[in-house]
């Protein structure tokens, strides 16, 4: 397999093993260029549109995830888990091989952590889901289901671990201490380890003892250094006393503390004790291995499989008593390795698997919290559309017409949330009857509107402005003959029509707000916030203007003023601040001459202008 030019087939279920071993070889040889090429090739398949983003479980090896890659003709399954595990394994191995604190290494860890979400583009994935309207409840349901599976998996792992440990301990013994503490049992491997510890201790003692004898001889040869050598002897003897205590801890039968007492000073005593211990350990070990050999020889094939004893390992058990010392020594080493490794994998291996599964459950929980926040933000941003065009979705009948019940649209409710779906465009009804229904409810009075329009656009300047907005005439005709254009193009009627549309839209929104109070509330907040910001901007402009005119600049803290107003929108004082802002806007309008009163008709009729809701359509607010 050429890593520099791998093809999708190289990564399928049959070939992934070869790929990974090639990966190892390249790594061992430091051939990073090749590794890079391989990874880039994988990337090419995925990025160049050849990937079908899908994951699933292999039929042959359930539990392993793969990603399907197609070259247009054939589809291959890439085992990303294996690739990811491998990379992680290697990084871990590198940490193990180079232990200790290291800033660069810490940076690597932190980089890896930081990149985890980003490199998987998981945020984008979740955003896409949220934008498609996949509900948080459904998302949570999926996570709960997966977590239930994880819980079951953990339970199974624990049961499996318990069963395997029991089987192992039944076969090879276990370490126990009964409650009274005066009776203990030890497993075979513990007993073997104790013997081996004993050998190490007694060999050390022998080394110390020989050194003491050497030093004693040196004192006779060179009495002038007596005190120096005696000090060294004293130290070695102290050390031997300690080793004596350690050997007693091994609890070898036939060895009592009198045999160890003062052994550092008595050559005869030491030699005897030394040989007793050595013989005893050799006998004990032989008996342990003999026992192991017999235990394994008596196991049924099913037991061997359950205990993970392959024919090769079994042959080692058979060889522990071989008369050829080198053969038996090698067999005993292999048996020790099996027992220690198996014991470790029974606890550590499964514990790690459980820990990973528990982390996965935690990740899913975090995932749900993240998604909840994301969907909320996306929904809020939809409602917050300044154009106000995001509205609850209305139900249509089979002909595609909206269903109106009692003068209200029937809403299309999302069953998973109980809230209506939203749609971004508000269609004003075109049929006369429905329009009239809304206008009536809005208490829209055409004659009043006309009076208001006449009042508002009485001056030539106002007409010019409105004509420009309506895109009637050109700058010269608008300047010289606004009145003629006004009549010729029936601008009054056009403005009236626009007001009619606005009145219908407003009434529709009110209807929705009655049905969906939450949306109404959010819409109100948005309106208020918008005004607060506007007010802040006005204050800013006023401040700047005042400053230019030589006002006392120090008496107003500009940034604080703006900050306070903006912050108010986010705090509990929003409504209060909103009211203040509204009053300020009204005050300014009064100063500019655009008040509600100014559009009340001469016969003292009711105020009909809804200017406040038609925010500054003629730039009246411009200072």
């Amino acid at each position: 397999m050429d890593l520099s030019n791998i093809v999708a087939t190289d990564l399928n279920e049959n070939n992934i093993g070869t790929f990974l071993s090639e990966f190892d070889n390249a790594l061992a040889n430091g051939d990073y260029a090749k590794l890079r090429d391989a990874i880039e090739r994988i990337n090419d398949f995925l990025v160049a549109g050849k990937i079908i983003v899908s994951s699933g479980r292999s039929n042959n090896q359930p539990g392993r995830n793969y990603i399907e890659v197609t070259d247009g003709t054939n589809t291959e399954q890439i085992f990303v888990d294996d690739i990811a595990d491998h990379v992680v394994g290697k990084v871990k191995a590198d940490y193990t091989a180079n232990p200790g604190a290291n800033t660069d290494r810490d940076a690597v860890r932190s980089e890896l952590n930081k990149n985890l979400t980003a490199i998987f583009n998981q945020n984008r994935l979740l955003e896409t889901l949220a934008n498609r309207g996949f509900s948080i409840d459904e998302f949570k349901k999926q996570a709960d289901k997966a977590n239930d599976e994880s819980k079951r998996k953990i339970d199974n792992l624990r049961a499996q671990q318990k069963k395997q440990v029991e089987k192992f301990e039944d076969t090879f013994g276990k370490n126990t201490t009964i409650t009274s503490g005066d009776y203990t049992t030890k497993s075979s491997i513990t007993r073997i380890k104790t013997c081996k510890d004993g050998i190490a201790i007694v060999e050390l003692a022998k080394d110390r003892f020989d050194k003491i004898q050497d030093l004693k001889a040196k004192i006779i040869a060179d009495p002038s250094k007596k005190s120096e050598y005696e000090a060294q002897i004293a130290q070695l003897q102290e050390n031997m006393k300690y080793l004596g205590k350690k050997i007693l801890d091994c609890n070898f039968p036939g060895l009592d503390k009198d045999m160890i007492k003062d052994w550092e000073t008595k050559p005869a005593m030491f030699s005897r004790t030394f040989s007793i211990i050595k013989v005893h350990i050799a006998t004990t070990l032989s008996s342990e291995y003999e026992n192991l050999k017999n235990v394994v020889a008596g196991l049924q094939p099913a037991d061997l499989i359950e205990l993970g004893i392959s024919p090769e390992i079994k042959s080692k058990f058979d060889g522990v008593m071989d008369p050829d010392d080198s053969v038996s020594a090698a067999a005993r080493d292999a048996v020790d390795k099996y027992l220690i490794g198996k014991q470790r994998s029974l606890t550590q291996g499964i514990d790690n698997e459980i820990a990973t599964e528990e982390r996965l459950m935690q990740l899913r929980k975090e995932n749900v919290a993240h998604y909840e926040e994301l969907t909320k933000r996306i929904n809020d941003s939809k409602v917050r559309l300044k154009t106000g065009q995001c509205i609850p979705k209305r139900k249509r009948d089979t002909n595609g017409n909206y269903i109106v019940v009692n003068g209200r649209y029937e809403l299309d409710i999302d069953p998973s949330t109980g809230n209506p779906y939203t749609e971004e465009v508000m269609d004003i009804p075109t049929d006369v009857a429905t329009r009239q229904e809304f206008l009536q409810k809005a208490r829209y009075d055409e004659s009043k509107e006309l009076i208001a329009i006449d009042a508002k656009y009485e001056s030539r300047a106002a007409k010019r402005h409105a004509l420009e907005v309506l895109n009637i005439g050109n700058r010269f005709t608008r300047f010289f003959a606004p009145g003629r254009l006004w009549k010729k193009y029936n601008a009054r009627r056009k403005i009236l029509a626009s007001r009619e549309e606005s009145a219908i839209e407003l009434q529709m929104r009110k209807d929705y707000e009655e049905i969906v109070p939450d949306i109404a509330e959010r819409f109100k907040i948005e309106q208020l916030f918008s005004r607060i910001k506007q007010s802040a901007a006005i204050q800013h402009t006023l401040y700047s203007a005042g400053k230019e005119q030589g006002w006392d600049a120090d008496s107003v803290d500009k940034s604080k003023l703006v900050d306070d107003l903006e912050r108010a929108a986010y705090e509990e004082t929003l409504y209060r601040a909103g009211t203040v802002a509204l009053n300020e806007i009204t005050d300014i309008r009064k100063k500019k001459g655009y008040t509600h009163e100014s559009v009340v008709d001469k016969n003292n009729k009711q105020v009909i202008n809804n200017d406040l809701l038609h925010e500054d359509e003629n730039n009246d607010m411009e200072l």
């Binding site: 590794l35 990937i51 983003v53 290494r105 990149n115 896409t128 889901l129």
Partner: protein, 50 residues
Amino acid sequence: MDNNVEELLKALEKVNSLMTDENIERATTEQLLRYNELINKIKARLIELV
């Protein structure tokens, strides 16, 4: 920084860049959900390191 780790990290980043915006847009909702779960599973193992 250790070359070994640095190179491997680069490799890891590249492997993971499979989730391109284009691929995400093209995936079905069901695929996105499955992929999200897959990412969580890989993260659960990777996170042991960090």
